[in-house]
């Protein structure tokens, strides 16, 4: 049993299944975006609506009054992608949201961008709506179709391992583009702007329910419950965050348990170690990016049977091995300062902030000046797909 939504297309009413309605709305929204700046936009959109209406009409009969989701999808596929006429409404953003998902970027961009998957091409974006910080987790969740809270939790857990999650988050916040236009938002999750859709539906439900309460008292009671529910939702997330913070503190105290003797040389060694650590990290990031962009590490080709994602994993492990002694040395320095406890933690915080700032600033510059880096980030989603496929094939092979 599916919910049916009645729409008006070209002056006639049609009944669509809810999923079909969503698909049609996404298609028409997509059309409107593609035709942005076209002086005949409204007319073309109504032409398209009329053409769709005619196709629906052909599907319906006296015993069939509802267009099901599958049929809507078929009609939309038959309509094909909207091609703006050349030079007229080509999207100005170099980001080329409508460009095909393949990172290779053929000259004939815009040729059937979504034909392959029959939906919107998926791209990794940051999604601002409903974001906690920069929308990175939200974007990943939209990309892999998961609950954002789970992704956030994964990041928090990853952060417990020597702050890896924090670093990855920072890097992604800088290099992953944010979804601004509705088209980009659609591409971010492969469905019409999930967050917007969610908000719209929530509101719709809210107002629908409001209509059902003619008397004021009942309405107020319902309103109170609606708000309470929302609050409970955000509170449970807050509880999760607090639990994580407690874990953090706990880990800290176990560090303080081991004291190292203080040595004046540490004052000089600490900044040096930090810089060295930062350099190693940067080297790893650049190596990974060059691996993703060119399939080779700084021009050194991989052996033929090693997939890129395995190489990336190996790089990460190599980085871990290289960085571990540096990290240990730095930690020893903080303990050295730990005569009054707060001095050590203050040094750590200061050092960590400076270190993160150095890495972030250099990375920002690198992304700004090397277009290949940006390209590499674009290729990340397809790489993730490849990795997933590889793992699936390996699993089946077993």
């Amino acid at each position: 049993m599916n919910k049916v939504i009645t729409i008006n297309l070209g002056g006639n009413a049609y009944q669509l299944e809810e999923g079909g309605y969503d698909a049609l709305r996404a298609y028409l929204e997509f059309a409107a975006v593609r035709l942005q700046g076209n002086p005949d936009k409204d007319e073309i959109v109504s032409d398209i609506e009329r053409a769709i209406a005619e196709k629906f009409r052909a599907l319906l009969g006296s015993h069939k009054t509802v267009v099901v989701t599958k049929e809507v999808a078929a009609v939309v596929a038959e309509m094909g992608p909207i091609e703006a006429d050349s030079g007229q409404a080509a999207d100005p953003g170099a980001g080329g949201a409508g460009a095909p998902a393949s990172a290779s970027g053929h000259g004939a961009a815009g040729e059937e961008p979504a034909a392959g998957r029959g939906g919107t091409p998926r791209r990794l974006y940051r999604i601002h709506e409903g974001a906690m910080i920069a929308g990175v987790c939200n974007g990943i969740a939209g990309y892999v179709n998961a609950d954002p809270t789970l992704v956030r939790l994964a990041f928090v857990l990853l952060t417990l391992f020597w702050g890896t999650g924090l670093l990855v988050y920072l890097v992604m916040a800088i290099v992953v583009p944010e979804a601004f236009s509705p088209e980009e938002k659609a591409a971010a999750s492969g469905v019409p702007s999930t967050a917007q859709e969610f908000i719209r539906r929530a509101k719709e439900g809210y107002y629908e329910a409001m209509k059902g309460f003619p008397d004021r008292k009942a309405r107020r009671e319902w309103e109170r419950r609606f708000k309470q529910q929302m609050r409970g939702w955000s509170r449970s997330f807050g509880r999760e965050m607090r639990w994580n913070a407690d874990q953090w503190r706990h880990n800290w105290h176990s560090y303080w348990a081991e004291h190292a003797p203080f040595h004046p040389g540490m004052c000089f060694a600490l900044p040096l170690l930090s810089l060295l650590h930062g350099a190693v990290t940067l080297l790893w990031i650049c190596a990974s990016i060059s691996l993703l962009a060119t399939g080779a590490v700084f021009g050194l080709a991989l052996p033929a049977n090693v997939p890129v994602w395995v190489a990336a994993l190996l790089l990460f492990i190599a980085y871990g091995i290289l960085a571990a002694p540096l990290k240990a040395a730095r930690r020893a320095c903080y303990w050295g300062f730990g005569q009054p406890k707060w001095a050590g933690s203050f040094m750590f915080l200061l050092d960590a902030v400076i270190w993160l700032a150095i890495v972030a600033a250099l990375l920002l510059l690198a992304v700004h000046y090397f277009p290949e880096l940006r390209q590499a980030v674009r290729s990340l989603p397809s790489l993730a797909h490849q990795a997933a496929d590889d793992i699936r094939a390996w699993w089946k092979g077993k």
Partner: protein, 108 residues
Amino acid sequence: MSVNEKFSAIRKGLLEFLLLQIIAAEKVYVADILKQLSATEFATQEGTLYPLLSKMRREGLLDYEWKESGAGPPRKYYELTAKGREQLRDTLEYWGKINGTVKKLGQK
């Protein structure tokens, strides 16, 4: 890259010319045009056709009139304007020239 791919840009450019030719023959609406094209190398979809037709109308090459259809919404029937006919004549002439050049070049 196959020949088919190499010619995608050329096909795109020629589509306007073909539309002029189809519409010149008789008053048609979009489903007719799609049907005529579907059997050829120029098979297209509505998503491409509507923007192109409205561009051509804006350029004054064609015009349309509304006709009621038995069932469903009214349809737009397209026809060429005087300017459209002129353009078709010019294009045909030019196309003949290009064809001649393609055949002639490289022969002795």
